[in-house]
Amino acid sequence: MKLSIDENRCKGCNLCTKVCPYTIFREGKRLNRKGIAVPELDRPERCANCRLRNLYGRQLCGVCQLTCPDQAIHWVEEEPYEPHKVAIEY
């Protein structure tokens, strides 16, 4: 699974940057066409739900999605054989 922010819905409140235990969301710097600085994703492949949802067959964590007041955070299926960066958490 891949984490994704819907640019049409996000209002740039940055609450997601506060709640993710892996601090995957970082304050955005570039304004989009609506004038909103949408947060950037820092190595989103570390997200528990991205890694394990399909294995466990259920939603994991999901705190960012529940918190996002604008329903802008969701996950999309990856294309087959999409290249991956390997993230190692110590």
């Binding site: 940055n14 999901g62 604008d70």
Partner: protein, 262 residues
């Protein structure tokens, strides 16, 4: 997630200000509703007037967006006419406790089978920030320019005293706990009341040193006192910090209820 299916996606993004916590509360409520396995045709969302009360407009089921303060009166009508329906009410602190105060205590007394989620931003958000019955002492609002001098209501104590079967309080920071509390509320026959303290950056935060949304959420987090911890402090004869509010399941009981599904 599957609670997505309950949203009217064509109406999103909603009108709430950036950083307004009302959207978070809708997410948590719908996540709980989704787990109940209810049919959309059998579920009704009811609200009064206020920013909080706009919530049902973003939900796919039938809904009633009624007059200010009267959400519970309309919801009572729905439930008594159609006891098989699942009734969920979204309301605000002004809607529920100011103009709608009497409907609130009597709905609790009658213990009508519905779940009420109160988005308590401690202010009249929609009309530009007048003080409400839950505005804390010393807080600034457009009607309390020198700081609020009236002691606020404790909505959970009020609901408990008036007879509600289930009463809980959480904040917009505690999303998982809130989702669980709403679920227990939906499962409990009789009147379930869930108060959610929530940030309103536009009308409350701006005047009360919470210009940054994250600061207000941090305040809600750090000033929450778990009920179990509060009870322990009392048992040990220690003082309960006055600037904190109790969160958790406050009341769960089984008084006679009305309108319970046949």
């Amino acid at each position: 997630m599957s609670y997505d299916e309950w949203f009217r996606t064509d109406r999103l993004p909603h009108i709430y200000c950036a950083g307004c916590g009302n959207g978070t509360i809708i997410n948590c409520t719908l996540a709980a509703v989704d787990q109940m396995g209810w049919k959309k045709e059998d579920t009704v969302f009811v609200s009064g007037i206020g920013c909080s009360s706009r919530a049902p407009g973003y939900i796919l089921t039938d809904s009633l967006h009624t007059t200010h303060g009267r959400a519970l009166a309309f919801a009572t009508g729905v439930k008594m006419a159609k006891p098989a329906f699942n009734v969920v009410v979204f309301t605000g602190d002004g809607d529920l406790a100011a103009i709608g105060g009497n409907h609130f205590i009597h709905a609790c007394r009658r213990n009508i089978d519905m779940t009420v989620v109160c988005m308590n931003n401690q202010i009249y958000g929609m009309t530009g920030g007048q003080g409400s019955p839950t505005t804390p002492l010393k807080c600034l609002s457009s009607t309390t320019p020198y700081g609020c001098a009236e002691p606020p209501f404790d909505l959970c104590e009020l609901a408990t005293a008036a007879g509600a079967n289930y009463v809980a309080r959480w904040t917009s920071y505690h999303v998982k706990e809130l989702e669980k509390a709403v679920k227990v509320g939906l499962e409990t026959p009789g009147f379930s009341f869930i108060e959610v303290l929530v940030q309103c950056p536009t009308a409350f935060g701006r005047r009360n040193k919470f210009r940054q949304v994250a600061d207000h959420v941090e305040f809600l987090k750090s000033h929450s006192l778990l009920k179990a911890k509060r009870d322990r402090l009392i048992d040990q004869g220690q003082p309960v910090p006055e600037d904190m509010f109790v969160v958790g399941e406050i009341t769960k009981r089984n008084r006679p209820a009305m309108g319970v599904k046949p």
